[in-house]
Subunit: 387 residues, 2 copies
C-alpha cells in the first residue's frame, strides 16, 4: 500500500548524515509516547542537522509498505480522506520510530471497510466509516489502515468523504470535553442561563465545541477569536457572542453584561490566559483544557478559593488505555453522524489541499506548525484521495 511517513534519522542513508547514535535518546523511549504530554520535551539538537529532511520536523516521505491484516477487533479500512491535526505535528516532533521502522501519522479518516476481524461487530465490507483511531498504532496517512471497531461509526450520508474527514477527532474531543469531562447535562433547557467561554472558538476543536453546545445544551456561548474571519466563523458555529483573546477578557465580557462564567473550554494557550480565566470563573466553576500549558504559568492554588475544578480532555485516553468504555467513541461518532444528517451539525472542513501524499501533508503540517506557534486558525485542513 501507499503511505506517507517518516523514519528515525539513523535509518536514512545520506552522504551528509553524521549522527552519532550514542547521542540519540533511546528510540523505544520516544516511541512509547510518554513524551506526548510533556511540553518540556523537544527534539534534541542532534536531530537538527543537515540535510534538509533532518532539519525540518515537518518533512514526510512517500513510501510503499506491505498491506496490513486485521486482528480480531479490527476493521481494515481503505482510506478515502484524512484531516490533519496539531497532534500530527506534536508526534512528528516528539516521537521517533525504532531504526528501520516507519511512523505513520494521521488521526482523522473516512474510508470503506475492506475486511473485518472476527469480533468486529456491526460493520460490513463496503461500509463507509469514520474514526480518529488510537495514537499508538499506525495512523491514517496510508491507503489501508487497521482500527478497532469500537472506535468507529458509519460516516454521515450527507457529507462527502472530504467534508466528513474534518470531523472525527474534533467532534470526539469536543463531545468528551462537554459531556464526559465537564459532565454538562444535555437538553435545550440544560444549563440555561449559564455561560460557557470557549477560548480559541474558531479552531478545529472550538468549531465543534460551539456546534455541539449550541445544539445540545441551553448554555450561552461566548467564543474568543482574534481575527474578523475567525470571529465570523465562531458565530457561524453557534457562538452567541465573540470576543478577542488578545484583549482583556473581563472588560469585553463586562461590556456584554457578563461578570462571571460557569464553564471554560480552554483550547489553546491556556498558560497565557489561565489567571484571567480563573478570575472570570464563577465559584464552583470548571475549566477544561486540551493543550500543553507551561506548568510554571499555572498557579493551581488559585483554584482553591472558588472551589474550582480542572478537567483534562485527551481524545486518545480511551484507546490508549483500552478502557472498558472505549466503545463510547463509536457511539459518539454515530450520534454526531446522525446530527450531521439531521442538518444540526456541519463540517468544519475549510481547505482541501489535494490528494494524500507527502508534499500535500507536509504543506498541511506547516500550517499546523504555524498554528502551534500562535497563528490563528479556522476550521480544518483536509486531504482527499490518492494520486
Amino acid at each position: 500500500m501507499r503511505a506517507v511517513g517518516y523514519q528515525h534519522p539513523a535509518s536514512l542513508d545520506h552522504p551528509q548524515h553524521s549522527l552519532d547514535s550514542q547521542e540519540l535518546p533511546d528510540p523505544q523511549d520516544l516511541l512509547n509516547s510518554q513524551h506526548l504530554a510533556d511540553p518540556e520535551y523537544q527534539l534534541s539538537p542532534e536531530y537538527l542537522v543537515d540535510p534538509k529532511y533532518l532539519v525540518d520536523p515537518e518533512y514526510l516521505v512517500d513510501i510503499e509498505l506491505p498491506d496490513p491484516s486485521p486482528g480480531a477487533d479490527d476493521l481494515l479500512v481503505r482510506v478515502e480522506a484524512v484531516a490533519v491535526n496539531p497532534v500530527d505535528v506534536k508526534v512528528r516532533r516528539r516521537e521517533l520510530p525504532p531504526p528501520g521502522a516507519w511512523r505513520l501519522l494521521g488521526w482523522d479518516a473516512v474510508g470503506r471497510v475492506e475486511a473485518l476481524g472476527q469480533r468486529a461487530g456491526g460493520f460490513a465490507v463496503g461500509d463507509r466509516v469514520w474514526y480518529a483511531g488510537p495514537l499508538n498504532r499506525a495512523g491514517c496517512n496510508a491507503e489501508l489502515q487497521l482500527v478497532d471497531w469500537r472506535l468507529v461509526a458509519r460516516a454521515p450520508q450527507s457529507l462527502t468523504s472530504a467534508e466528513a474527514a474534518a470531523l472525527p477527532l474534533t467532534s470526539l474531543t469536543a463531545w468528551e470535553l462537554l459531556f464526559d469531562r465537564l459532565r454538562l447535562p444535555q437538553g435545550s433547557d440544560a444549563a440555561a442561563g449559564q455561560v460557557l467561554l470557549v477560548v480559541a472558538g474558531a479552531g478545529g476543536v472550538g468549531s465543534m465545541v460551539l456546534q455541539l453546545a449550541r445544539q445540545l445544551t441551553g448554555l450561552t456561548l461566548v467564543a474568543t477569536a482574534s481575527q474578523p474571519e475567525g470571529q465570523a466563523w465562531a458565530r457561524h458555529c453557534g457562538a452567541h457572542q465573540v470576543i478577542d483573546h488578545k484583549l482583556p477578557l473581563r472588560t469585553q465580557l463586562a461590556a456584554l453584561g457578563i461578570e462571571a462564567v460557569q464553564w471554560v473550554a480552554s483550547l489553546s494557550h491556556t498558560d497565557q490566559h489561565f489567571d484571567a480565566l480563573v478570575d472570570l470563573l464563577a465559584p464552583q466553576g470548571a475549566l477544561a483544557l486540551i493543550d500543553d500549558p507551561n506548568p510554571a504559568a499555572i498557579n493551581l492554588l488559585s483554584l482553591k478559593r472558588k472551589s474550582l475544578s480542572l478537567h483534562w480532555e485527551l481524545m486518545f485516553t480511551r484507546s490508549l488505555f483500552q478502557t472498558a468504555d472505549m466503545a463510547a467513541q463509536g457511539g459518539i461518532l454515530q450520534r454526531v453522524a446522525e446530527l450531521v444528517d439531521e442538518n444540526r451539525l456541519f463540517s468544519s472542513c475549510r481547505q482541501i489541499l489535494g490528494p494524500i501524499n507527502a508534499a500535500n501533508l507536509t504543506a498541511a503540517h506547516r500550517q499546523l506548525a504555524g498554528q502551534l506557534a500562535g497563528q490563528s486558525s479556522i476550521g480544518k485542513i483536509v486531504l482527499e484521495g490518492w494520486d
Copy 2:
C-alpha cells in the same frame, strides 16, 4: 459577651514591643483572606519577636466584647460547644486584624437561637442549631455569634452539643467533596465496583468522607492511616480496607487486588502523594483535594494522558462568595442531622478539652499545629460551655 481572640501585635501595649509598623504588611491586605489559599505566605519575621505572645502564633486571649445584633439574614446564636479545625491555625498564622480590632476564630458550633433577623426564615428562638459559618465574619469562639440562616440547620437530637459540634465543618466539606465536586451519584448501588481512595482517612474530614460514602454510595472505600489507632478508627468510620500512606501505595493496593482507583479524596499532604495518586488513578478518574500543596510538587501535565480531573473543595466558598446556592449548606446540615438521628452517622468527637476559653483553645490549636506539621490525627477536638 465573653470571647477568645487575638489582636494585631501593634495593638498590644508591652514594654518589650519594638515593632516597626513600616515593616508590617498592610493589615487590610491580610484581613481580606486572599492569602488563605497561598502556601507561600507566611507571617513575616517582624511578628516573631519577643514577648511570648508575639512569638507564639497559637497564642489567644480571653476578652470581653459588646454583644452583636443580627442583620436581616442573621441568626444570633448563644454558643454551647465548638470544635477546632486546621483552618483556625491557618487563619491565626496568616491573617491579622486591623490595629485595635480582635479576630475571633472558630468554624464549628452548636448553640441556641437567641434572636433572628427579619429574613431569617425557618428558625425560632430556642432552637438548637449547628453550622460552620463563613470565614469572613467573627467566628464561634464567643458566647454569641451571628450567622446567616442559610448556612444553618437544627442540630441532631440524638447528640449532645459537644458531640454535635465536631460535625458541621467536616460534614460540609466531605459532602461537598463527594456530591458537589466529584458529583458522585447517591444510592447503595451508586458507583458500585468503583474504588474511592481516602488519603488521611482517620482525620476530621476523612472520618466524614468515609461515613458519608459508606452510607450513601456503593463505592469500595480504601482509607490511608499510618498509626494502628487511626487505622482502626478509619475502619470504624466505614473503610473497607486501610493502608499506610507512609508505605508505597501501589504495592499495598495490589496486595488487596486493586490495580487502579476511580476516585481520590486527597485530604492531607497532597504534594507528597501526588505522583503516586496520579499513577494509581484509572483513566478518566478524578482527584479532589482540600489542602495547600506546594505547587512545585504538582505536575499538572501528568493528568493529561489519562484525562484526569482535579477538584478543589473549600467549605467556605459558598459563604465567601454568597453564591446563589449557599442555602445548600443548611440543606446538607439538615440531611446530616437526619442521618445522625437515624443512627447512620456518628460523631467524630474524640476529645473534649473543657470549657471554651483561651487556655483550652490554645491547647487545642497546639494539637492542630502538630497535625499540620505532619503528626497523625484521629477525629475531632471539641470545647464545651463557658467557665
